[in-house]
């Protein structure tokens, strides 16, 4: 969805940010801060979460922080629905999607077994 939304809006983005890589060439506003905040929440590291929350609040303000918290919290739920129910990805036959997953190394994830197509 990140790649699709970047293409739709013709915005340059480094999708490696999804796996925590620095997005030096990205045009995404607050991208680094959002990445660190989301990663800290998902990893359960409270010290990192405190730091990244303060960083995001300082640079982007409270409305961005609240909206980002909502999205991050929502996906803490969604990933568990997908894995607990063993559903495969809907885009198994989508070349761009499969290549992106391969580039990011997502096929190494255990839950990739629930989806059948590997490049």
């Amino acid at each position: 969805m990140l790649r699709v939304s970047a293409n739709k809006t013709e915005t340059e983005i480094d999708v490696g940010m999804v796996i925590g890589q620095s997005g030096g060439n990205s045009e995404l506003e607050f991208g680094e801060e959002l990445m660190r905040f989301a990663g800290a929440l998902a990893s359960g590291n409270e010290a990192q979460l405190d730091d990244s929350r303060a960083e995001l609040l300082d640079i982007a303000g409270p409305t961005v922080l609240v909206d980002a918290a909502g999205v991050a919290a929502n996906f803490q739920r969604m990933v568990r629905i997908a894995d607990a129910m063993g559903i495969p990805v809907d885009t198994n036959d989508n070349e761009m999607s499969n290549q992106l997953r391969a580039d990011l190394g997502l096929h190494e994830f255990r839950s990739a077994e629930n989806s059948t197509t590997k490049p």
Partner: protein, 247 residues
């Protein structure tokens, strides 16, 4: 005091988020389809407990999740299998298998009960995670209401994918017609349809925390949001990646 008034928050919380969380808390307290109100609140309590369960930490680091007998630090009178399922969903979800679900089904935790249990577990998680993300206290759990589960099981189910029966893509009709339009759906939307009210819960919470199903097809700037779609998807992708979720 009103649930989720967020009076301890140092910044404003959007009204639609408050309403969604408040609405879910009321639904959580009521009997569901396969669990009583008391059991549903107990599942919510286990969802919270799993985070600090020493056994879960130990198991997460084990090569296999099946090498040790259950020794969870539970806080409820739910069955051992129910407690284990809640804790697995929170702390070790990407090692859940079809065999795990089938074995539970054969030993008293039915597929229907598992789906509702999962729905409760993750709904409470997402609300708690919102608070944790913002450094806020967790909301006290609601007092359960009396009554019996309705044991509603929809028609139009199939076993075409995943670990449990789901509505067919063309199965959102009749009592389920509000779940999606026509045959335009996704596996993640179908995943919990064995218990349709669970899907209604996730749609309601997801619409506030993220986007409504209808808005997901719009990649522009959403009204009422301060971050654009790319920023949202970066956050979503990063959370999924840290959780090692392929989907």
């Amino acid at each position: 005091m009103t649930d989720f008034d967020y009076s301890d928050a140092p910044f404003a919380i959007r009204e639609d988020i408050k309403l969604a969380h408040r609405d879910y808390w009321q639904r959580l307290a009521r009997p569901g389809s396969w669990w009583t109100g008391a059991e549903r609140v107990a599942i919510a309590a286990e969802s919270r407990r799993a985070r600090t369960c020493a056994f879960c930490t130990e198991r997460k680091n084990a090569l296999s999740p099946y090498t040790q007998a259950y020794a969870h630090s539970n806080v409820s009178n739910l069955s051992a299998r129910a407690v284990d399922a809640v804790h697995r969903v929170i702390t070790d979800q990407n090692r859940i298998t079809r065999t795990f679900v089938a074995d539970n089904h054969a030993h008293g935790l039915s597929e229907e009960a598992y789906v509702e249990l999962t729905g409760i577990t993750v709904a409470v998680l997402s609300i708690d995670e919102f608070n944790r993300a913002l450094g806020l206290q967790l909301e006290p759990l609601p007092e359960p209401l009396n009554g019996k589960p309705d044991e509603y099981r929809p028609e139009n189910l199939t076993r075409d994918t995943g670990f449990v029966p789901m509505l067919r893509r063309d199965g959102a009709i009749g009592r389920e017609q509000d779940l999606w339009s026509g045959e335009r759906t996704a596996n993640v939307l179908r995943a919990l349809t064995l218990v349709p009210d669970v899907v209604r819960d996730w749609k309601m919470i997801g619409s506030a925390q993220y986007l409504s199903i209808e808005d997901m097809g719009d990649f522009g700037q959403q009204a009422g949001r301060s971050i654009d779609r790319m920023q949202m998807e970066l956050v979503a992708g990063r959370v999924s990646s840290v959780n090692e979720c392929f989907y």
